[in-house]
Amino acid sequence: MLKSVSSIHTGICSKLIRTLSTALNVHPPEKLDNFRCYESNPVNHTIHNVAQFYSLPPEDKALLFRHGGLPKTFETQCKTFNETCIMIRKPALDVINSLKNIDYSKPPCKFVLYGVKGSGRSLSLAHILHFGYKSGYLLVHVPWVGDWMRRCKESSTSVMEKDYIDLNIDAAMWLTHFKKQNEHLLVNKELKLCQEYVWNKRESTNKGAPLTELIDFGINRIKYASYCVVVLAEEIKQLSKAGVCKTLVAIDGYNAFFYPQTRIFKEKKEVVHPSKVTLTKAFLNLSYFNWNNAAIVLTVDEIAIGQDDYPSNLPRYLLDKEGFEHLDPFVPIPVENYSSKEFLSCMEYYKERKWIQYYPGMEEELAFISNSNPYKLLELSASL
């Protein structure tokens, strides 16, 4: 009884105060009620969640990013924070919204994420990839093309195609990655080959065999792994066209496929042009427009090509004429540095994780020093 009376009293008080307040149009400074988004399914993220952090479930992370896909520094930070939180940002939401509204009977739409170094292209791609996983796309994800073109594990001349160079271990690793990411989809009996592939006198993969057989063959017989990727790409295209699966192609550092200065060498130390690498053939085939029931999300990155200086980070420069014509028409999506709202949200998150010790004026100072660049902020806050 006493409790109810007191609650009535407080209710009246607050009402009175509200009506009797003399301050007009008080706009509190824009501050997030909560910097966390408890919706961990990217399908349900809306524009109202911008600048909020959502936590990537550990089981999803283990499935999607076991073999790479998240930047290394970010991984370290996640380990420190004991959770993987990705900020919901406009570029990713824009792509996700488009993916929801695409007419999939038409040729695939291409989205190219671009921006300055450390602005969060790879993490936006990770967010989109998570969306793709949650909405049941067949994921064709390349974590970092720069790894193939600039620090490949091993290279040899191709057995299956003349004048081509195979990156055996990298191809097999990618097949493992692909298999892991699409575990749940590959059990589908309909995903089968529509052609017979003869590898040599004794080995062949029959028509109608499940896709996993081809992948396993590539993983076990590393010599044929690169060509397996080419075949797999073509098969995925055919299956998508037939409507068996819906595909999301996500490639990070896509422009490395067109930069002539690779670090792959032939036997006589000649530099191999990326167009002469078997893996390039597979992924250029996947990013071409002559199929449907798919969407393509790419990032262009100046780090992927490892030039000495970076005159521009815009897609036409990075893709060069050849790459631009290959992708055209595509939607360029700028990934910018943090807006003030995003920056404050990030600071709140760091405070909550006890990553930084707060002092007054810290936000302004850090925003100024880091230029609101996410990666710079991460670096700067490491010592605070």
Binding site: I47, N97, D103, S312, L314, P329, P332
Partner: protein, 324 residues
């Protein structure tokens, strides 16, 4: 024994030396026979010059102060000449101003002498010279009353320089140079011919004024250079109209600008949509955006425009529609 003789020798030599040093000279002995004179090392006395008083130059008052007010300035300063403070009756001042000091006056002022002056070209002098030249001129054609008409009827402009010297030679090598200016729009050229003409003339064409400038100086006389310039204009015009066999091989890489209608982009769009490009909706905006992107260079603005055009073309939701 040998050593003793050597010692004696040594002694002798030293003594002779001593002797010679003290011996007075023969002339001195003659003059100083009767009178003992003190040692005069510096020889101050003897030939003493009597200093003639300096003749002072009479400093004239500056000429400027003697000038009548109504003098004929054209005769005082008839030609180009560096500044003379005593001839110019003006309190001119110029130069670096030290702190707290006035501007340096005209006397001994290097700054004033350095710069070229136009004191010989005062308006009355110009007027007088024009009057003198008038009897050699013919009247200006009445029909050519505006600049446009002049340009229309006389599209070629020839410029030469004549030099006049008071030197033994009446020739100046610079007078041979002939400069010919032509407005490109006055030549009848089609698209191909114009392109070729511009490639042939290279940097001699000024885009802002649309004028081609040809300068010839390789021949020894002005007449020859003028003929050569006219030959060049004729040859350029006719050459640019010729279409060579190999010009048909011009591919996209040789193009001086990006043309969407000839690009790979157009063919891929046609292949994508399965119809002629002009039937595709919103193709105009897309092709314009791509032309701008390729021709004006890539920047944030052009890329954003291109993105918008592609969204329209592929019927994707615009960026502003996310919130819905």
């Amino acid at each position: 024994m040998f050593q003793v003789t050597r010692n004696i020798n040594k002694c002798l030599s030293t003594t002779t030396l001593k002797y010679s040093s003290t011996m007075p000279r023969a002339s001195e002995i003659d003059t100083e026979k009767d009178d003992f004179k003190p040692l005069n090392l510096r020889q101050v006395k003897g030939h003493q010059f009597v200093k003639r008083p300096m003749r002072k130059m009479e400093v004239l008052t500056p000429r400027t102060e003697q000038m009548p007010v109504d003098q004929d300035w054209g005769s005082v300063w008839p030609g180009p000449r560096s500044f003379q403070p005593n001839t110019v009756p003006l309190p001119v001042r110029q130069g670096y101003v030290k702190k707290g000091a006035a501007v340096p006056h005209k006397y001994g002022n290097a700054e004033l002498m350095k710069i070229p002056n136009f004191l010989h070209l005062t308006p009355p002098v110009i007027k007088r010279q024009c009057e003198a030249l008038k009897k050699f001129c013919t009247p200006w054609p009445k029909a050519l009353d505006t600049d446009e008409k002049c340009q229309e009827h006389f599209p070629i402009e020839v410029a030469t320089s004549s030099y006049c010297h008071s030197s033994p030679s009446i020739r100046d090598p610079l007078s041979r140079i002939v400069t010919v200016n032509i407005k490109l729009s006055s030549l009848k050229l089609d698209k191909h011919a114009k392109d070729k003409f511009l490639r042939l003339v290279g940097e001699r064409y000024d885009e802002n004024t649309d004028i081609v400038t040809i300068t010839t100086d390789r021949c020894p006389t002005r007449k020859q250079n003028y003929d050569y310039a006219m030959y060049l204009v004729t040859a350029l015009y006719h050459e640019s109209w010729i279409v060579e066999e190999w010009e048909k091989l011009k591919s996209e890489a040789d193009m001086e600008y990006y043309d969407w209608n000839k690009s790979k982009s157009k063919t891929s769009i046609e292949e994508m949509f399965g119809k002629k490009s002009n039937e595709v909706p919103h193709i105009e905006q897309y092709s314009n955006a791509l032309n701008n992107l390729m021709n004006d260079g890539e920047n944030e603005y052009n890329i954003a425009k291109y993105g918008d055009a592609v969204r329209k073309l592929l019927q994707l939701p615009q960026l502003s529609e996310i919130s819905k």
